[in-house]
Amino acid sequence: MLTASKLTKQFTGLLAVNEVDVAVEAGSVHGIIGPNGAGKTTLFNLISGLLPPTSGSLTLDGRDITAAAPYERTRLGVARTFQNIRMFSDMTVIENVMTGMHTRLEYSGVAALFRLPAFRRGERAAKERATELLEFVNLAGKARSRSGDLSYGDQRRLEIARALAGDPRLLLLDEPAAGMNPTETRDLATLLRQVGQRDITLLLVEHNMGFVMDLCDRITVLNFGRKIAEGTPRQVRDDPSVIEAYLGTKVAERLAKAHGA
Protein backbone atom coordinates (compact mmCIF):
# COMPACT_ATOMS: atom_id res chain seq x y z
CA MET A 1 0.00 0.00 0.00
CA LEU A 2 2.77 2.41 0.95
CA THR A 3 6.13 2.19 -0.75
CA ALA A 4 9.14 4.25 0.12
CA SER A 5 12.07 3.92 -2.20
CA LYS A 6 15.53 5.24 -1.51
CA LEU A 7 13.96 7.73 0.88
CA THR A 8 16.60 10.07 2.29
CA LYS A 9 16.53 12.96 4.70
CA GLN A 10 19.60 14.98 5.38
CA PHE A 11 19.84 17.51 8.17
CA THR A 12 22.82 19.77 8.42
CA GLY A 13 25.66 17.36 8.90
CA LEU A 14 23.50 14.32 9.51
CA LEU A 15 21.82 11.73 7.39
CA ALA A 16 18.82 10.97 9.54
CA VAL A 17 17.20 8.69 6.99
CA ASN A 18 19.48 7.15 4.43
CA GLU A 19 18.14 5.52 1.27
CA VAL A 20 15.49 3.54 3.06
CA ASP A 21 13.17 1.24 1.14
CA VAL A 22 10.02 0.12 2.89
CA ALA A 23 6.96 -1.54 1.48
CA VAL A 24 3.93 -1.72 3.74
CA GLU A 25 1.37 -4.37 2.82
CA ALA A 26 -2.25 -3.31 2.85
CA GLY A 27 -4.04 -4.64 5.91
CA SER A 28 -0.86 -5.53 7.74
CA VAL A 29 0.67 -4.28 10.92
CA HIS A 30 4.15 -3.12 10.09
CA GLY A 31 6.66 -2.26 12.79
CA ILE A 32 9.64 0.04 12.63
CA ILE A 33 12.20 -0.43 15.32
CA GLY A 34 15.68 0.79 15.91
CA PRO A 35 17.86 2.51 18.46
CA ASN A 36 17.17 6.01 19.65
CA GLY A 37 18.02 8.48 16.95
CA ALA A 38 17.89 5.86 14.21
CA GLY A 39 15.52 7.96 12.14
CA LYS A 40 12.16 6.36 12.88
CA THR A 41 10.33 9.54 13.73
CA THR A 42 12.00 11.28 10.85
CA LEU A 43 10.72 8.56 8.57
CA PHE A 44 7.22 9.17 9.93
CA ASN A 45 7.61 12.88 9.31
CA LEU A 46 8.55 12.14 5.73
CA ILE A 47 5.59 9.86 5.26
CA SER A 48 3.10 12.27 6.79
CA GLY A 49 4.55 15.18 4.84
CA LEU A 50 5.79 17.29 7.73
CA LEU A 51 9.27 17.18 6.26
CA PRO A 52 10.20 17.17 2.58
CA PRO A 53 12.62 14.37 1.70
CA THR A 54 16.07 15.23 0.43
CA SER A 55 15.72 12.52 -2.18
CA GLY A 56 13.81 9.36 -2.88
CA SER A 57 10.13 8.86 -3.44
CA LEU A 58 6.95 7.78 -1.74
CA THR A 59 3.94 6.18 -3.28
CA LEU A 60 0.59 5.44 -1.73
CA ASP A 61 -1.48 2.88 -3.60
CA GLY A 62 0.67 3.50 -6.62
CA ARG A 63 0.14 7.24 -6.53
CA ASP A 64 3.22 9.39 -6.09
CA ILE A 65 2.85 11.47 -2.94
CA THR A 66 6.45 12.58 -2.51
CA ALA A 67 5.57 16.25 -2.86
CA ALA A 68 2.05 16.23 -1.46
CA ALA A 69 1.19 18.54 1.43
CA PRO A 70 0.22 16.99 4.77
CA TYR A 71 -3.45 17.74 4.31
CA GLU A 72 -3.47 16.06 0.92
CA ARG A 73 -2.03 12.91 2.42
CA THR A 74 -4.63 13.01 5.13
CA ARG A 75 -7.25 13.15 2.46
CA LEU A 76 -5.72 10.10 0.87
CA GLY A 77 -6.09 8.29 4.16
CA VAL A 78 -2.85 8.77 6.08
CA ALA A 79 -3.15 9.62 9.78
CA ARG A 80 -0.62 9.69 12.58
CA THR A 81 0.10 10.24 16.24
CA PHE A 82 3.10 12.01 17.67
CA GLN A 83 5.90 10.79 19.86
CA ASN A 84 5.89 14.07 21.78
CA ILE A 85 2.19 14.39 22.31
CA ARG A 86 0.67 17.27 20.40
CA MET A 87 -2.80 18.06 21.59
CA PHE A 88 -4.95 21.04 20.81
CA SER A 89 -4.72 21.66 24.51
CA ASP A 90 -7.39 24.32 24.89
CA MET A 91 -10.02 22.28 23.13
CA THR A 92 -12.10 19.73 24.92
CA VAL A 93 -11.37 16.08 24.40
CA ILE A 94 -14.31 15.54 22.09
CA GLU A 95 -13.46 18.61 20.05
CA ASN A 96 -10.01 17.22 19.49
CA VAL A 97 -11.51 14.07 18.08
CA MET A 98 -13.93 16.02 15.91
CA THR A 99 -11.06 18.07 14.55
CA GLY A 100 -9.60 14.80 13.41
CA MET A 101 -12.68 14.33 11.23
CA HIS A 102 -11.99 17.47 9.28
CA THR A 103 -11.56 15.77 5.96
CA ARG A 104 -14.53 13.48 6.45
CA LEU A 105 -17.03 16.23 7.07
CA GLU A 106 -18.31 17.13 3.66
CA TYR A 107 -20.63 20.04 4.27
CA SER A 108 -19.68 23.43 2.84
CA GLY A 109 -18.98 26.72 4.53
CA VAL A 110 -22.29 28.00 3.25
CA ALA A 111 -24.07 25.11 4.90
CA ALA A 112 -22.37 25.96 8.16
CA LEU A 113 -23.23 29.62 7.82
CA PHE A 114 -26.91 28.99 7.31
CA ARG A 115 -27.11 25.86 9.44
CA LEU A 116 -28.43 23.91 6.51
CA PRO A 117 -29.55 20.32 7.08
CA ALA A 118 -26.32 19.04 5.56
CA PHE A 119 -24.42 20.81 8.31
CA ARG A 120 -26.61 19.52 11.08
CA ARG A 121 -26.56 16.00 9.82
CA GLY A 122 -22.79 16.12 9.46
CA GLU A 123 -22.19 17.50 12.91
CA ARG A 124 -24.58 15.12 14.59
CA ALA A 125 -22.99 12.12 12.95
CA ALA A 126 -19.54 13.46 13.80
CA LYS A 127 -20.41 13.79 17.41
CA GLU A 128 -21.83 10.32 17.61
CA ARG A 129 -18.78 8.91 15.95
CA ALA A 130 -16.48 10.89 18.26
CA THR A 131 -18.28 9.61 21.32
CA GLU A 132 -17.93 6.10 19.99
CA LEU A 133 -14.22 6.54 19.48
CA LEU A 134 -13.78 7.95 22.96
CA GLU A 135 -15.56 4.96 24.39
CA PHE A 136 -13.31 2.81 22.30
CA VAL A 137 -10.17 4.35 23.88
CA ASN A 138 -11.75 4.54 27.30
CA LEU A 139 -12.02 8.30 27.56
CA ALA A 140 -15.77 8.73 27.29
CA GLY A 141 -15.94 10.04 30.82
CA LYS A 142 -13.58 12.88 30.00
CA ALA A 143 -15.19 14.02 26.76
CA ARG A 144 -15.74 17.53 28.02
CA SER A 145 -12.48 18.02 29.88
CA ARG A 146 -9.86 20.37 28.55
CA SER A 147 -7.49 18.05 26.78
CA GLY A 148 -4.37 19.81 28.02
CA ASP A 149 -5.34 18.81 31.53
CA LEU A 150 -5.30 15.10 30.85
CA SER A 151 -2.50 12.98 32.16
CA TYR A 152 0.19 11.74 29.80
CA GLY A 153 -1.26 8.34 29.14
CA ASP A 154 -4.74 9.69 28.62
CA GLN A 155 -3.37 12.17 26.10
CA ARG A 156 -1.76 9.31 24.21
CA ARG A 157 -5.04 7.48 23.91
CA LEU A 158 -6.75 10.67 22.88
CA GLU A 159 -4.22 11.08 20.10
CA ILE A 160 -5.06 7.64 18.84
CA ALA A 161 -8.74 8.43 18.87
CA ARG A 162 -8.11 11.68 17.04
CA ALA A 163 -6.06 9.91 14.39
CA LEU A 164 -8.76 7.25 13.96
CA ALA A 165 -11.39 9.92 13.57
CA GLY A 166 -10.31 10.63 10.03
CA ASP A 167 -11.10 7.03 9.04
CA PRO A 168 -7.56 6.53 7.83
CA ARG A 169 -6.45 3.64 5.72
CA LEU A 170 -2.90 3.95 6.94
CA LEU A 171 -2.29 4.85 10.56
CA LEU A 172 1.17 5.80 11.76
CA LEU A 173 1.68 5.35 15.48
CA ASP A 174 4.83 6.80 17.03
CA GLU A 175 5.48 5.02 20.32
CA PRO A 176 1.86 4.65 21.35
CA ALA A 177 2.70 2.61 24.42
CA ALA A 178 5.28 5.00 25.82
CA GLY A 179 4.25 6.04 29.30
CA MET A 180 1.86 3.14 29.76
CA ASN A 181 2.32 0.36 32.22
CA PRO A 182 2.22 -3.27 31.10
CA THR A 183 -1.47 -3.65 31.83
CA GLU A 184 -2.33 -0.51 29.96
CA THR A 185 -0.04 -1.62 27.17
CA ARG A 186 -1.88 -4.90 26.91
CA ASP A 187 -5.19 -3.08 26.67
CA LEU A 188 -3.73 -0.87 24.00
CA ALA A 189 -2.61 -3.92 22.04
CA THR A 190 -6.14 -5.27 22.18
CA LEU A 191 -7.43 -1.96 21.00
CA LEU A 192 -4.99 -1.81 18.11
CA ARG A 193 -5.89 -5.29 17.06
CA GLN A 194 -9.46 -4.16 16.79
CA VAL A 195 -8.30 -1.20 14.79
CA GLY A 196 -6.39 -3.51 12.52
CA GLN A 197 -9.57 -5.44 11.86
CA ARG A 198 -11.21 -2.35 10.42
CA ASP A 199 -9.15 -2.49 7.25
CA ILE A 200 -6.66 -0.06 8.60
CA THR A 201 -3.04 -0.65 7.85
CA LEU A 202 -0.82 0.12 10.83
CA LEU A 203 2.71 1.39 10.74
CA LEU A 204 4.10 1.33 14.20
CA VAL A 205 7.19 2.66 15.95
CA GLU A 206 7.66 1.26 19.42
CA HIS A 207 10.38 0.31 21.82
CA ASN A 208 8.25 -2.10 23.82
CA MET A 209 9.38 -5.32 22.20
CA GLY A 210 6.72 -7.57 23.63
CA PHE A 211 4.13 -5.26 22.19
CA VAL A 212 5.81 -5.06 18.80
CA MET A 213 6.39 -8.77 18.47
CA ASP A 214 2.82 -9.46 19.44
CA LEU A 215 1.23 -7.10 17.02
CA CYS A 216 3.40 -6.88 13.96
CA ASP A 217 3.26 -8.97 10.85
CA ARG A 218 6.47 -7.52 9.56
CA ILE A 219 9.24 -5.41 11.04
CA THR A 220 11.80 -3.06 9.55
CA VAL A 221 14.88 -2.24 11.61
CA LEU A 222 16.69 1.04 11.21
CA ASN A 223 20.06 2.02 12.54
CA PHE A 224 21.82 5.31 11.85
CA GLY A 225 19.21 6.06 9.23
CA ARG A 226 19.82 2.85 7.29
CA LYS A 227 17.70 -0.22 7.05
CA ILE A 228 19.66 -3.02 8.65
CA ALA A 229 17.09 -5.77 8.71
CA GLU A 230 13.56 -6.62 7.71
CA GLY A 231 11.30 -9.59 8.12
CA THR A 232 8.88 -11.36 10.40
CA PRO A 233 9.17 -10.66 14.10
CA ARG A 234 10.95 -13.92 14.59
CA GLN A 235 13.47 -13.32 11.82
CA VAL A 236 14.23 -9.89 13.17
CA ARG A 237 14.48 -11.07 16.72
CA ASP A 238 17.07 -13.65 15.78
CA ASP A 239 19.06 -11.39 13.52
CA PRO A 240 22.44 -10.91 15.16
CA SER A 241 22.92 -7.41 13.83
CA VAL A 242 19.59 -6.41 15.36
CA ILE A 243 20.48 -7.97 18.66
CA GLU A 244 23.75 -6.16 18.65
CA ALA A 245 22.47 -2.76 17.63
CA TYR A 246 19.17 -2.71 19.35
CA LEU A 247 17.80 -5.52 21.42
CA GLY A 248 20.70 -6.68 23.50
CA THR A 249 21.07 -10.33 24.31
CA LYS A 250 18.97 -10.20 27.44
CA VAL A 251 15.88 -8.88 25.76
CA ALA A 252 16.35 -11.18 22.81
CA GLU A 253 16.49 -14.16 25.13
CA ARG A 254 13.49 -13.02 27.06
CA LEU A 255 11.54 -12.56 23.87
CA ALA A 256 12.56 -15.96 22.66
CA LYS A 257 11.40 -17.47 25.90
CA ALA A 258 8.09 -15.63 25.92
CA HIS A 259 7.17 -16.34 22.34
CA GLY A 260 8.79 -19.66 21.70
CA ALA A 261 11.90 -20.21 19.64
Partner: protein
Protein backbone atom coordinates in the same frame (compact mmCIF):
# COMPACT_ATOMS: atom_id res chain seq x y z
CA UNK B 1 30.29 63.69 -0.88
CA UNK B 2 29.85 59.93 -1.00
CA UNK B 3 32.29 59.43 1.85
CA UNK B 4 30.48 62.03 3.95
CA UNK B 5 27.20 60.31 3.20
CA UNK B 6 28.65 56.99 4.24
CA UNK B 7 29.75 58.52 7.52
CA UNK B 8 26.27 60.00 7.95
CA UNK B 9 24.83 56.58 7.36
CA UNK B 10 27.18 54.97 9.80
CA UNK B 11 26.21 57.43 12.51
CA UNK B 12 22.51 57.06 11.83
CA UNK B 13 22.89 53.30 11.70
CA UNK B 14 24.69 53.30 15.02
CA UNK B 15 21.82 55.13 16.64
CA UNK B 16 19.46 52.51 15.29
CA UNK B 17 21.67 49.71 16.54
CA UNK B 18 22.16 51.36 19.90
CA UNK B 19 18.43 51.68 20.36
CA UNK B 20 17.85 48.14 19.21
CA UNK B 21 20.30 46.41 21.55
CA UNK B 22 18.21 46.54 24.68
CA UNK B 23 15.09 46.03 22.65
CA UNK B 24 16.29 42.84 21.05
CA UNK B 25 17.46 41.61 24.43
CA UNK B 26 14.14 42.10 26.15
CA UNK B 27 12.18 40.98 23.13
CA UNK B 28 14.30 38.11 22.00
CA UNK B 29 15.32 36.76 25.35
CA UNK B 30 12.31 37.30 27.54
CA UNK B 31 10.02 36.62 24.57
CA UNK B 32 7.92 39.66 25.30
CA UNK B 33 7.01 42.37 22.85
CA UNK B 34 7.70 44.91 25.53
CA UNK B 35 6.44 48.24 24.29
CA UNK B 36 7.59 49.99 27.46
CA UNK B 37 11.09 49.82 26.05
CA UNK B 38 10.65 53.15 24.29
CA UNK B 39 9.85 54.68 27.63
CA UNK B 40 13.15 53.56 29.12
CA UNK B 41 14.78 55.39 26.28
CA UNK B 42 12.91 58.57 27.14
CA UNK B 43 13.35 58.33 30.88
CA UNK B 44 17.09 57.77 30.56
CA UNK B 45 17.40 60.94 28.55
CA UNK B 46 15.31 62.92 30.99
CA UNK B 47 17.15 61.77 34.08
CA UNK B 48 20.43 62.73 32.46
CA UNK B 49 18.95 66.03 31.39
CA UNK B 50 17.76 66.78 34.89
CA UNK B 51 21.14 65.88 36.31
CA UNK B 52 22.86 68.15 33.83
CA UNK B 53 20.53 70.98 34.63
CA UNK B 54 20.21 70.71 38.37
CA UNK B 55 23.77 70.05 39.38
CA UNK B 56 25.69 70.57 36.22
CA UNK B 57 26.60 66.91 35.78
CA UNK B 58 28.84 66.26 32.82
CA UNK B 59 28.31 63.46 30.37
CA UNK B 60 30.36 60.94 32.29
CA UNK B 61 28.09 61.36 35.29
CA UNK B 62 24.82 61.97 33.50
CA UNK B 63 25.13 59.01 31.16
CA UNK B 64 25.48 56.30 33.81
CA UNK B 65 22.90 58.03 35.94
CA UNK B 66 20.37 58.01 33.12
CA UNK B 67 21.20 54.41 32.30
CA UNK B 68 20.87 53.17 35.87
CA UNK B 69 17.65 55.05 36.44
CA UNK B 70 16.17 53.56 33.29
CA UNK B 71 17.37 50.13 34.40
CA UNK B 72 15.61 50.47 37.71
CA UNK B 73 12.44 51.66 36.06
CA UNK B 74 12.63 48.64 33.80
CA UNK B 75 12.95 46.26 36.73
CA UNK B 76 9.97 47.76 38.49
CA UNK B 77 7.88 47.89 35.34
CA UNK B 78 8.65 44.30 34.54
CA UNK B 79 7.88 43.22 38.04
CA UNK B 80 4.53 44.97 38.18
CA UNK B 81 3.43 44.22 34.66
CA UNK B 82 4.79 40.86 33.77
CA UNK B 83 5.44 38.62 36.78
CA UNK B 84 1.81 37.87 37.16
CA UNK B 85 1.34 37.06 33.51
CA UNK B 86 4.48 34.99 33.42
CA UNK B 87 3.28 32.96 36.35
CA UNK B 88 -0.04 32.38 34.66
CA UNK B 89 1.85 31.41 31.47
CA UNK B 90 -0.39 33.88 29.73
CA UNK B 91 1.57 34.12 26.53
CA UNK B 92 3.06 36.72 24.27
CA UNK B 93 -0.06 38.54 23.35
CA UNK B 94 -1.26 39.49 26.80
CA UNK B 95 2.22 40.78 27.60
CA UNK B 96 2.05 42.89 24.50
CA UNK B 97 -1.26 44.32 25.58
CA UNK B 98 -0.26 45.01 29.14
CA UNK B 99 2.83 46.87 28.03
CA UNK B 100 0.75 48.75 25.52
CA UNK B 101 -1.50 50.03 28.28
CA UNK B 102 1.44 50.75 30.53
CA UNK B 103 3.34 52.70 27.96
CA UNK B 104 0.31 54.85 27.26
CA UNK B 105 0.00 55.62 30.95
CA UNK B 106 3.72 56.22 31.41
CA UNK B 107 4.21 58.55 28.48
CA UNK B 108 1.12 60.50 29.40
CA UNK B 109 2.21 60.79 32.99
CA UNK B 110 5.59 62.02 31.91
CA UNK B 111 3.99 64.50 29.55
CA UNK B 112 1.75 65.81 32.31
CA UNK B 113 4.70 66.52 34.53
CA UNK B 114 7.38 67.49 32.07
CA UNK B 115 5.39 68.84 29.18
CA UNK B 116 5.83 67.87 25.58
CA UNK B 117 8.13 70.66 24.48
CA UNK B 118 11.39 69.47 23.07
CA UNK B 119 14.39 70.18 25.22
CA UNK B 120 18.12 69.79 24.93
CA UNK B 121 21.18 69.32 27.06
CA UNK B 122 22.74 72.61 28.13
CA UNK B 123 25.09 74.14 25.61
CA UNK B 124 28.58 73.04 26.47
CA UNK B 125 27.41 69.79 28.11
CA UNK B 126 29.76 68.03 25.74
CA UNK B 127 32.36 69.29 23.41
CA UNK B 128 30.29 69.98 20.35
CA UNK B 129 33.14 70.40 17.96
CA UNK B 130 33.60 68.28 14.93
CA UNK B 131 36.73 66.95 13.46
CA UNK B 132 37.32 67.18 9.76
CA UNK B 133 39.59 65.15 7.60
CA UNK B 134 39.69 65.20 3.85
CA UNK B 135 36.33 66.94 3.73
CA UNK B 136 34.49 64.51 6.01
CA UNK B 137 33.05 65.92 9.18
CA UNK B 138 32.11 63.97 12.24
CA UNK B 139 31.36 65.33 15.67
CA UNK B 140 32.73 64.00 18.90
CA UNK B 141 29.28 62.97 20.08
CA UNK B 142 28.82 60.98 16.92
CA UNK B 143 32.11 59.22 17.47
CA UNK B 144 31.01 58.53 21.02
CA UNK B 145 27.83 56.92 19.70
CA UNK B 146 29.66 54.72 17.26
CA UNK B 147 32.19 53.77 19.89
CA UNK B 148 29.62 53.02 22.57
CA UNK B 149 27.59 50.93 20.18
CA UNK B 150 30.56 48.80 19.23
CA UNK B 151 31.67 48.35 22.81
CA UNK B 152 28.18 47.45 24.00
CA UNK B 153 27.71 44.97 21.20
CA UNK B 154 30.94 43.27 22.12
CA UNK B 155 30.14 43.23 25.83
CA UNK B 156 26.64 41.93 25.34
CA UNK B 157 27.75 39.28 22.96
CA UNK B 158 30.28 38.00 25.41
CA UNK B 159 27.82 38.22 28.25
CA UNK B 160 25.17 36.19 26.50
CA UNK B 161 27.35 33.64 24.80
CA UNK B 162 30.19 33.18 27.21
CA UNK B 163 29.03 33.75 30.76
CA UNK B 164 26.98 31.85 33.26
CA UNK B 165 24.48 34.67 33.50
CA UNK B 166 24.03 34.58 29.76
CA UNK B 167 23.41 30.87 29.86
CA UNK B 168 20.89 31.29 32.63
CA UNK B 169 19.14 34.07 30.77
CA UNK B 170 18.80 31.98 27.66
CA UNK B 171 17.63 28.94 29.59
CA UNK B 172 14.97 30.90 31.30
CA UNK B 173 13.79 32.39 28.06
CA UNK B 174 13.09 28.94 26.84
CA UNK B 175 11.61 26.94 29.62
CA UNK B 176 11.00 28.54 32.93
CA UNK B 177 10.08 25.46 34.89
CA UNK B 178 13.09 23.57 33.65
CA UNK B 179 15.27 26.56 34.52
CA UNK B 180 13.95 26.41 38.06
CA UNK B 181 14.85 22.74 38.21
CA UNK B 182 18.42 23.77 37.39
CA UNK B 183 18.45 25.95 40.50
CA UNK B 184 18.10 29.18 38.59
CA UNK B 185 16.43 31.95 40.52
CA UNK B 186 13.99 32.96 37.88
CA UNK B 187 12.78 36.17 39.50
CA UNK B 188 16.29 37.45 39.97
CA UNK B 189 17.45 36.54 36.51
CA UNK B 190 14.45 38.18 34.90
CA UNK B 191 15.18 41.28 36.92
CA UNK B 192 18.77 41.20 35.71
CA UNK B 193 17.66 41.07 32.09
CA UNK B 194 15.20 43.86 32.64
CA UNK B 195 17.82 45.96 34.31
CA UNK B 196 20.27 45.33 31.54
CA UNK B 197 17.89 46.18 28.76
CA UNK B 198 16.56 49.18 30.65
CA UNK B 199 20.12 50.40 31.05
CA UNK B 200 20.83 49.93 27.39
CA UNK B 201 17.65 51.78 26.51
CA UNK B 202 18.45 54.60 28.91
CA UNK B 203 21.99 54.98 27.65
CA UNK B 204 20.74 55.04 24.10
CA UNK B 205 18.27 57.74 25.09
CA UNK B 206 20.99 59.91 26.55
CA UNK B 207 23.34 59.57 23.61
CA UNK B 208 20.76 59.86 20.88
CA UNK B 209 19.05 62.71 22.68
CA UNK B 210 22.41 64.38 22.86
CA UNK B 211 23.18 63.87 19.21
CA UNK B 212 19.87 65.11 17.89
CA UNK B 213 19.23 67.67 20.63
CA UNK B 214 15.62 66.67 20.71
CA UNK B 215 14.56 65.31 24.06
CA UNK B 216 10.86 64.85 24.45
CA UNK B 217 8.71 62.37 26.37
CA UNK B 218 7.63 60.63 23.19
CA UNK B 219 11.10 60.39 21.69
CA UNK B 220 11.15 56.71 22.50
CA UNK B 221 7.93 56.09 20.70
CA UNK B 222 9.29 57.61 17.52
CA UNK B 223 12.19 55.19 17.61
CA UNK B 224 10.05 52.10 18.06
CA UNK B 225 9.12 51.55 14.45
CA UNK B 226 12.72 51.58 13.27
CA UNK B 227 13.60 49.54 16.32
CA UNK B 228 11.16 46.84 15.23
CA UNK B 229 12.58 46.82 11.75
CA UNK B 230 16.13 46.51 13.03
CA UNK B 231 15.55 43.67 15.46
CA UNK B 232 13.51 41.73 12.98
CA UNK B 233 15.98 42.16 10.14
CA UNK B 234 18.79 41.18 12.48
CA UNK B 235 16.91 38.24 13.95
CA UNK B 236 15.17 38.40 17.30
CA UNK B 237 17.47 38.37 20.28
CA UNK B 238 20.64 38.44 18.25
CA UNK B 239 23.09 41.12 19.22
CA UNK B 240 25.25 40.93 16.11
CA UNK B 241 22.11 41.00 14.04
CA UNK B 242 20.99 44.23 15.67
CA UNK B 243 24.32 45.86 14.92
CA UNK B 244 24.48 44.78 11.32
CA UNK B 245 20.85 45.50 10.60
CA UNK B 246 21.06 48.91 12.26
CA UNK B 247 24.08 50.00 10.30
CA UNK B 248 22.70 48.55 7.09
CA UNK B 249 19.50 50.49 7.49
CA UNK B 250 21.24 53.70 8.41
CA UNK B 251 23.54 53.58 5.43
CA UNK B 252 20.85 52.62 2.97
CA UNK B 253 18.49 55.30 4.22
CA UNK B 254 21.13 57.95 3.88
CA UNK B 255 22.16 56.79 0.44
CA UNK B 256 18.55 56.69 -0.67
CA UNK B 257 17.88 60.20 0.57
CA UNK B 258 21.17 61.46 -0.83
CA UNK B 259 21.15 59.85 -4.25
CA UNK B 260 17.65 58.74 -5.07
CA UNK B 261 15.03 60.86 -3.37
CA UNK B 262 14.37 61.92 0.15
CA UNK B 263 10.74 60.99 -0.48
CA UNK B 264 11.74 57.37 -0.58
CA UNK B 265 13.77 57.39 2.63
CA UNK B 266 10.84 56.41 4.81
CA UNK B 267 10.16 53.34 2.76
CA UNK B 268 13.70 51.97 2.95
CA UNK B 269 13.47 50.30 6.34
CA UNK B 270 10.45 48.24 5.55
CA UNK B 271 11.47 47.44 2.02
CA UNK B 272 14.69 45.97 3.40
CA UNK B 273 12.67 44.17 6.03
CA UNK B 274 10.42 42.55 3.47
CA UNK B 275 13.35 41.58 1.29
CA UNK B 276 15.22 40.07 4.22
CA UNK B 277 12.27 38.03 5.37
CA UNK B 278 11.69 36.88 1.84
CA UNK B 279 15.02 35.13 1.84
CA UNK B 280 15.37 34.41 5.52
CA UNK B 281 12.01 34.17 7.31
CA UNK B 282 13.70 34.50 10.71
CA UNK B 283 15.92 37.48 9.98
CA UNK B 284 19.64 37.54 9.28
CA UNK B 285 20.78 35.75 12.40
CA UNK B 286 17.55 34.43 13.80
CA UNK B 287 17.19 30.73 14.32
CA UNK B 288 14.08 28.82 13.51
CA UNK B 289 12.53 27.34 16.58
CA UNK B 290 14.07 23.99 17.31
CA UNK B 291 10.76 22.27 17.36
CA UNK B 292 10.36 18.83 15.95
CA UNK B 293 7.36 17.10 14.68
Amino acid sequence: MLSQQLVNGLVLGSTYALFALGFTLIFGVLRVINLTYGFYFSIGAFVALTAARSFGANIWVALPLGAIAAGLVAVVADWILLTRLRRAKAGELSSLMVTLGAVLALYSLMAVFIGTDIQRFPFGFVDNSAIEFSGIRISLVQMLIIGTTLVLVALLFVLLQRTKLGLMIRALAENEDAARLMGINVGLTVAAVSFLSGMLGGAAGVLIGLNFNAIQPFMGEHMMLRGFAVIIIGGLGDIRGALIAGVLLGVLEVLTAGYISSNAKEAVAFTILVLTLWFRPVGLFGRAQAKRA
